[in-house]
């Protein structure tokens, strides 16, 4: 490499104004000035041959296909029926046709350019020097000394007070930049005890919250057949909406034997009065990542969360029996009020939803 380099430096520069110098000579001279040697330069097609005419036709054909496809795109864009109609109307082909024509137009121009470049232009091999090995120690020293000189001139070493006071002055400025951002964004997570309460918390008057359906109607025991389940919400304003994303609850009507088992399990952990008859209500919000655990398998009384496949055994206080969830689904204590509708006796007695650091 070094000999090559020397050879290049020893090279006579070309007089680009000399007579008889071709344009390629000048190109080669320019390349040499950038330490590039064009070692191989060979046309792929001879001018005027059949092969050249054929390739020219191919490239031109591709460009024309682009024109056609782009025109077709415009025509479809303007005249094709595009507005949504129920059923199998022509509008269902609008997007595919746009994509198809646009894709063909772009692919054709792309392949046209590629063919032009790859087949019609001369092939070449050029070698450029990287100049990486030749580290210039001198200039490193010069730059380094220049910077040190500048530091000396500032005299931070001689006058340390300047440096210290500058730092002391700038540090609060950095904090000033951060303050509005942090201060504006920060939000107390335990405002109104929001992480530990749901929409089922009794109103101030002690009035208990009804369990309602998606459309707001309250639920009677007879509405759910044995073995069935229903998603219920707190019967308060916006109780069904995402404002109470922690409140969706699964009301399950267990079969007799399962209900007995479930009640015994309840009693073991001191939740003896949480069920009403054969009905039990569990939070639908998975304690793992907050997805709705909504796939209830009647035969095994297991509730599966479709996001990460945690499984909860309803007849054992909704204990997690498989998957990544580590905590049972909280149970909502329920009963039936004087009008025959389900109400929550109280709010959930355990924290609903995914776990966090300060959950007691």
């Amino acid at each position: 490499m070094s000999t090559e380099h020397q050879a290049q430096q020893a090279r006579e520069p070309l007089d680009i104004n000399a007579p008889g110098v071709t344009r390629f000579d000048i190109v080669r001279e320019g390349a040499r000035r950038d330490d590039i040697e064009i070692v191989h330069y060979e046309p792929q097609v001879q001018p005027g041959t059949k092969a050249e005419r054929r390739l020219t036709r191919v490239v031109a054909g591709m460009f024309l296909i682009t024109g056609l496809a782009a025109t077709a795109f415009l025509a479809i864009y303007i005249w094709w029926p595009w507005q949504y109609e129920p059923g199998r109307g022509g509008d269902k082909f609008y997007t595919p046709l746009l994509g198809l024509t646009l894709g063909v137009a772009l692919l054709a121009v792309g392949f046209g350019i590629l063919t032009w470049g790859k087949k019609l232009l001369p092939k070449e091999v050029s070698i450029q020097d990287r100049h990486e090995g030749a580290v210039d120690e001198d200039s490193r020293t010069v730059t380094g000394q220049t910077m040190l000189y500048m530091a000396d001139e500032l005299g931070v070493k001689r006058r340390p007070l300047l440096g210290i006071s500058l730092l002391a002055g700038l540090a609060p400025v950095g904090a000033v930049v951060a303050a509005p951002l942090v201060g504006g964004l920060i939000s107390q997570p335990h405002k109104n005890n929001q992480m530990f309460t749901t929409g089922f918390a009794a109103a101030e008057g002690g009035e208990r919250v009804r369990l309602v359906r998606e459309d707001g109607r309250p639920v009677r025991p007879a509405d759910i057949s044995s073995g069935g389940q229903l998603t219920v919400f707190p019967g308060i304003e916006h109780g069904v909406s995402n404002q109470h994303a922690d409140s969706p609850t699964l009301l399950i009507h267990l079969r007799d034997s399962d209900a007995q088992e479930s009640r015994r399990a309840n009693e073991r952990i001191g939740h003896g009065d949480y069920m009403w008859g054969n009905y039990a209500a569990y939070s639908k919000i998975c304690t793992h990542a907050g997805c709705p655990a909504s796939l209830f398998e009647q035969q095994t009384n297991r509730l599966l969360c479709p996001c990460h496949q945690s499984q909860f055994l309803i007849t054992d206080n909704a204990r997690p029996v498989f998957g990544p969830a580590s905590r049972r689904l909280p149970q909502l204590p329920i009963e039936v009020d004087s009008e025959g509708f389900f109400v929550a006796k109280s709010d959930y007695t355990e924290t609903v939803g995914p776990d966090f650091w300060e959950r007691p």
């Binding site: 949504y84 450029q128 990287r130 922690d246 793992h288 990542a289 945690s310 650091w357």
Partner: protein
Amino acid sequence: MKRRKFDLAATPGKAAVGVDDRFQVATPLRRLLNKVFPDHWSFLLGEIALFSFVVLLLTGVFLTFFFEPAMTEVVYDGSYAPLQGTPMSAAYASSLDLSFDVRGGLVMRQMHHWAALLFMAAIVVHMLRVFFTGAFRKPRETNWIIGSLLFWVGFLAGFTGYSLPDDGLSGTGLRIASAIMLSIPVIGSWLTSSIFGGEFPGTIIISRFFIAHVLLIPGLLVALISVHLGLVFKQKHTQWPGPGRTNGNVVGERMFPRYALKQGGFFMVVFGVIALMGGLFQINPIWLFGPYEAWVVSAASQPDWYVMFLDGSTRLMPAWEINIPIGDGYVIPPLFWPTVVLPGILVGLSTMYPFLEARHLKDRKSHNLLQRPRDVPARTAVGAMAVAFYVVLTLSGANDVIADKFQISLNAMTWAGRIGLLVAPPLAYYVTYRLCLGLQQHDREVLAHGVETGIIRRLPDGRFVEVHQPLSAADGHADGHGELEYAGWVVPKKMNRLGALGPAVRGFFYPIEKPVEAPVSPGHPPVEARPEREEIGSGESRR
């Protein structure tokens, strides 16, 4: 004043002189035009990512004209009949309008989504190329780190992007994201509450994600990509070893015209493929998912592919909860490990890898020549290990779909993933290591004994041997010893790679040129084994 005749032909020249007078660009421009780029198909992978990013910017700007990043509740009255009258967020309603009531909006939306998937895929494959060929070594460690960061920033861009429509699927993803943030010890609830502006889902997250998705993250991507390309330009591209190629030069083509033309064509091809996919292949049909409601989910809820490995790690994580019995008690939920700690470790390991390897090998030299994966078995095997780890996690991210389609127990799939995650990577390491050694050995064998010709000769004593075509002109040497050095590059292993077949005849239906004289006729062995070399096939004697 006499009116001079306007000389059209001289205008460009004059303009060029005028520009150079003012900006002195002639020499830098010549340097740029002349810059030499090495060529190999694998160098195009990163460009697919770059071109997809350009498409993302173009289509993304279009989408912002119609998307309304607000969670205000509206009642849908657009033309998609099945959802008319449904209360939903303004973000979801405007996404539906983009799909149904903006002419050509759907093709743009789908192109944007496909381009995002392609962007991430190209980044991953490009990264594998750089890793397995050792292109990350000194002096290119910085670019490797920037590349790894680009994956994660792209990941964020993708996640914030597909959360924006606020449909049933993305809302579930957002809820999981909030749970992930919640799981961080000590600061989890504060962080989540600050980002969501209160309890999940709040009313502001879509607007915040919007500005992150259209300004902050793309700004960061543009900055990182610019530095990435600038460094490639400054440090010059790596190249494969080969004739005339050294650590100190670049062998290839000058940038203009051929190389640049091919780049332009390739950009159009990538753009065209994205347009075809955007038109022909449906993606993220948000109108089927409905608006996000906290209590609705469906099975087979999968994120975009590049998020699936984290979904998989979450599914495989055992339910290990850490309780800290101080005061009221504190909890580190199992969700924390696979979604916060694991990505942290992955970022750390991947960015530090070039330094770890250099330290391990005590290698402080600059490397501009690439290595074939087989020549560095340890690195290749480590890479295979990482790939196996990633693949097990990604498959586990879809384990419910696999269980459903192949009638396998879901729990069995989870256990297969848990065991596979521990077993597959070491196995991949071992197998890859052996494969590399085997390939190396075969290369050396061919260099020593030549290419198998497929010609069987029967020896006078009745044995059969295969005739080998030696690669070197061994006979010229006095001692007849023709073993070649391995040059770090492909060793030809078939006769047609040696030019033993005639040149291809060009033309589709009929030859467009007179074919070159075929060197041999069929039936006649193309290579005559020399009598004195006939035993080479057995590799025992060379005389």
